[in-house]
Symmetry: C2
Subunit: 403 residues, 2 copies
Amino acid sequence: MVGESLWQVLQTNRSLNSEIKKVCIKHADKPRNAPAGLFTTVPNEILKDRDINVVVELIDDADAAHNIVTYALRSGKAVVSANKKMIAEHLPELLKLQSETGTPFLYEAACCASIPVIRNLEEYYDNDLLQSISGIVNGSTNYILTKIADEHLDYATALKQAQDKGYAESNPALDVEGIDAVNKLTILLAHAYGIVSAPNKILHTGIHNLHAQDARYAREKGYAIKLVAHAHKQEDGKVAAFVLPQFLTADNQLANVKNEYNGVIIESGLADKQLFNGKGAGGFPTASAVISDLSALRYNYRYEYKKCYYQEPSLLADDLYLRVYISYDAHYKIAHGLLERIDEWTRNGQRCSLTGTIHCSRLARGDWWKHDGVSLILLPEPFDLAPAPSLPERVIDVCAVAQ
Amino acid sequence: MVGESLWQVLQTNRSLNSEIKKVCIKHADKPRNAPAGLFTTVPNEILKDRDINVVVELIDDADAAHNIVTYALRSGKAVVSANKKMIAEHLPELLKLQSETGTPFLYEAACCASIPVIRNLEEYYDNDLLQSISGIVNGSTNYILTKIADEHLDYATALKQAQDKGYAESNPALDVEGIDAVNKLTILLAHAYGIVSAPNKILHTGIHNLHAQDARYAREKGYAIKLVAHAHKQEDGKVAAFVLPQFLTADNQLANVKNEYNGVIIESGLADKQLFNGKGAGGFPTASAVISDLSALRYNYRYEYKKCYYQEPSLLADDLYLRVYISYDAHYKIAHGLLERIDEWTRNGQRCSLTGTIHCSRLARGDWWKHDGVSLILLPEPFDLAPAPSLPERVIDVCAVAQ
């Protein structure tokens, strides 16, 4: 779909001065809206063609994409990609390859589709005053969350609608479990803070365990629930980073980013908060970013990875207290001492919920909070610098059963 | 204020690797928060110092700024400026000077302070798919309009508050008459469409004639009133551009840009609408853009003015029907035939108001609509492609008196 959008645009707009010479496809017998002579199923017809100087990689299969991209870069062909999974998982190798070959590798479409967030982090927020980035970076989950909030749909129905609209894959795990979002955050961290991390080292979950009671709680409090990818620089210079669902108050600009839209708030020491808001999914928005990358190649643009190479790269923080809401089926037990502090605890039929403060290491060490029947959502003010003592023992005892 | 913010930042953040060698000031006896040896009142101490390779121009006086900037560029010193008035009024000359000298001249701070709109128009939206830009580009007027709407203040009181807060000058004409906004639009037009126009050739007004009845009308209809700088590409390839107050419905993202904030919606054929939202005024936000420009100079960045030089520059449109609301003191008369079409006309005590369609040439040719006692505001859907016949003669006759 992105490929076809790209083809259409290059046909009708000549300012790019680019021509598609060959398109490698997987299914030769699928009907296509372009001349048959353009297509091949053999990647080497592109990779070994010396007349082709740019390879645009827009395929689903991350392993095949990795092979294509590394081969193309090694052959001196510039590459434009939208494959966040492949890029996030192979970031160290892809950085090394770019250093060695000097060949440009651009991938603006890999984060927030049409929103130029990578380019701005790299070029505009290129000094050490960047305080935080906070974003809704996955259109599918945002569409589902919007339907749950605005139309009171249950999770399964909202997911089905997202699939019918083409916003979610038939296997939606990458989206709803927060994997797509953490892949994007991995890429953003490199351009924002020079951090090159494996995505699975970053605290993350999705919205797949969201319970109807959580949605009711949000409505009662006037909160929106959003899946937020977040990173901020701590006082000690380390960077706290995670992808977690979060309750947002109405005055948080991300609360108004709805449906398949993405939004990123970039906060700097001088400029305060800046919101970038636009379509985060779909063929044309993705093609839009691909075209801007193609256009940048004409002027020999390449990412310098300034925060990685020209500044002291930051480290990921491992000491952080998070203020959380946890709801869970009543047959679960939350272990005594797991939370630093519990502020509220209630039981409503077969569902319990609590709010309190937890150390991030409690989440990094186990996955109890991702189990079926457990839902963890950040509170609107999610950071607790110095957790005060908990509620009286009487309340703690209610949930003081070993996990 | 911007200068002092810049000084503070460069003192505490070393990643820029820049040092301020000399600061030229107007008033030698004003107390300053920096070492006295840094200051001079003689511009030539900077301009003729061969060790200085970048001049940052942050002064109020547009004529003095023009002399400094042209001298510096001719001497091969890169220049960073925030002086939208000077840039807009001398744009053709400044483009020529950059072509001749090859010296970089960056001015991101001149439009929307901290929001990187110029850089994105130049680099990211660099193809011919850019459909429109629509923005709130003046923080002072937006602060005043927000106070009128949200706190029901009258115009004079809101203006006074803006002045007390430092958002408006003691002589606020540049802001409230739309001159600052049209200067910014002039700059944006060059980077968006390759149009190099004098600001006074672009249709513009401000909010100085806004009447209490207009604010009431907006409230009743659920509209926000905003001063909008707008440009869009017409079917014929020409670009319609203006700065006018406009009624916005709540679903227009600009309606939620409040107080001193700026917001720009960039619409492209592929990416649909993208909103950039951030602080548009103040010392630190402006310093933020200046620092990003300084930083870009380290990597030899300069504006290429791609739409001017590498593409066919667009022309300003002169054939456009606008849907307007006009309110006016009852002793004024709106001439018969001035509007293509009148949809509604009402008289409320000493104030009349109408809605209808007017050809832009009617506004370009005269300034009756900027007179005291006349207020013209665009309707939420401001374009009328084919004006239908007017209301019956009976209604037209009410205002059928020569102007």
